[in-house]
């Protein structure tokens, strides 16, 4: 349940923040976080408003005067060095060619030099014709892409038509833009087939969204671009394309 997500900060940490004008009422009344989800207008919401149905009020924002610059402020404050340095270590890439789209990802989850897992699924099946990749914060990527899957399904049910890749990537980009500056970390590629053929979009946590033929996202991306650019050919066969992705 979306409203169940809570970010807990140790009290001593927040007390030392100079800029904090905090509302700590949530400590005695956690129900405060559940509001916003069940407005009377809920079922009357249109398709577009559904995309924002995870209301900003229902996610507990940092209890400070300026939640939108929270991460930057913590870094600047210097009181908790390294707290906001989320560690990443991924390489994902995707390219469009004559027969479709190849997505290639590595399967390691790491936190700095610590390897969390070697068998992570970094490709998320949004639906049977849309894929999303994961780079950056694993939780952010997987949660929001699963939310995107929900929105895509609602679109299909309402309009009796599959959602276009442009629309799906736009929904995701708008969500990221809404949370811009609050510490989401996610670089994802949305790839799929729709009426216009195969499309690949790169969507990022700052709300940027680009359509393109070749993308690579993650800490290993400069290396991936090198390999990709040298051997890419739009008319290559499926086997060659798979081999290029693997390389």
């Amino acid at each position: 349940q979306e409203s169940g997500l809570k970010i807990r900060y140790p009290l001593s940490h927040t007390k030392t923040m100079a800029f904090a004008t905090m509302d700590l009422s949530f400590l005695s009344d956690p129900g405060v976080f559940a509001k916003g989800q069940h407005a009377e207008d809920d079922d009357a919401r249109g398709d577009l408003q559904m995309a924002r149905s995870i209301d900003i009020q229902s996610f507990p924002l940092a209890p400070v005067s300026s939640p939108y610059t929270f991460c930057e402020d913590v870094r600047k404050h210097g009181n908790a060095p390294g707290l906001m340095d989320f560690k990443h270590g991924t390489t994902t890439l995707g390219f469009v060619f004559k027969h479709g789209i190849i997505i290639a990802v590595d399967s390691r989850a790491s936190m700095g030099s610590y390897i969390g897992s070697q068998t992570v699924k970094k490709v998320i099946e949004i639906n049977s014709f849309l894929l999303g990749t994961m780079a950056g914060g694993a939780a952010d990527c997987s949660f929001w892409e699963r939310h995107l899957a929900r929105l895509c399904r609602m679109h299909e049910l309402r309009t009796k038509e599959r959602i276009s890749v442009a629309a799906a990537s736009k929904l995701l980009a708008n969500i990221f833009f809404q949370y811009k500056g609050q510490g989401l970390s996610c670089g994802t590629m949305v790839a799929g087939w729709d009426k216009k053929g195969p499309s690949l979009y790169m969507v990022d946590d700052s709300g940027e969204r680009f359509k393109g033929e070749r993308f690579s996202v993650g800490s290993g991306s400069p290396f991936a671009y090198g390999v990709l650019d040298s051997a890419y050919d739009r008319n290559m066969s499926v086997e060659d394309a798979v081999e290029l992705g693997r390389r």
Binding site: A44, G46, D47, L48, A51, R158, T159, E161, S164, A166, A167, K170, L171, N174, K195
Partner: protein, 268 residues
């Protein structure tokens, strides 16, 4: 007993009105969110009455076009006719004609226009006629659902093309329902117009015949004059308003045919 001798109004409507009057006296028609004991939402039904008093509007779906034709009330001498627009553009290729309260139409169409632009912004594609019809219907239904507001007193006819290039005609009403039609009419005397359309409608009409059918249907209940009728032809390439100069000769021709037929009947 008096009901037997009435020709124009349907007998069911009279009995409905009679029962409505009885129940209305008990106050079930005042608050919109209150059902009557026999399941009526009176305010919604009264809104439909307002629509029935509005100007006649006809829509016909052809093979690759949608024709919307409306009756324009005669403009007073001192009024600028250019300010009276009965068929409105909702999006690039979607036209809306309505019957009912002009002011309500203006407000509802404005909301719809904003929604169409939002859709373009968020989905990077044209909204389909189905989507727009659903939005209008949802908005109209919202206003039947809460206290302190009244329903929109309009029914709309939406004409446009969907993404596969197929023409579509939708109707919405104050209750918040929406239907797709091959051809229909709303407003004053719409029943006789719909009866005419049911008899004369043929599938896959070309633009010319579809236009003639729409105009002939409208002429069943309206005076044949370019000043009285506004027509929009919705094509895949966009919307086309017919000018008075284009309309007048066509109307004259169609009107003559009707007269000829009646003359033939008289001689027989």
């Amino acid at each position: 007993l008096g009901a037997e001798h009435r020709l124009a109004t349907a007998p069911q409507l009279d009995s409905c009105r009679a029962s409505a009057r009885n129940l209305a006296m008990s106050g079930y028609d005042r608050a919109i969110t209150v059902f009557s004991p026999d399941g009526h939402l009176f305010q919604v039904e009264y809104a439909l009455e307002a629509v029935r008093k509005g100007t006649t509007t006809v829509g016909v779906r052809g093979k690759d076009c949608v024709i919307l034709a409306v009756e324009k009330r005669a403009t007073p001498k001192l009024q600028d006719p250019r300010t009276i627009r009965k068929i409105l553009t909702v999006d690039n290729d979607i036209a809306l004609a309505f019957a009912g309260l002009n002011a309500d139409a203006r407000v509802l169409v404005d909301k719809t226009r904003i929604e169409c632009q939002s859709y373009r912004l968020n989905v990077e594609d044209n909204p389909t006629v189905d989507y727009v019809a659903r939005f209008i219907a949802r908005t109209q239904q919202k206003y039947t659902h809460r206290g302190g507001v009244r329903p929109f007193g309009i029914s709309t006819l939406l004409g446009g093309f969907n993404t596969d290039g197929v023409p579509e005609l939708y109707q919405t009403d104050p209750a918040g329902t929406y239907y797709a039609w091959k051809a229909t009419a709303i407003g004053k005397n719409s029943k006789s117009v719909v009866d005419f359309l049911e008899k004369k409608y043929v599938e896959d009409l070309e633009e010319g015949p579809a236009l003639r059918l729409a105009l002939k249907a409208l002429l069943e209940v309206t005076e044949a004059s370019g000043k009285n009728i506004e027509v929009v032809i919705v094509r895949k390439s966009g919307l086309g308003w017919m000018t008075e100069d284009e309309l007048d000769p066509l109307l004259k021709e169609l009107d003559d045919t009707a007269d000829k037929i009646s003359k033939l009947k008289e001689t027989k």
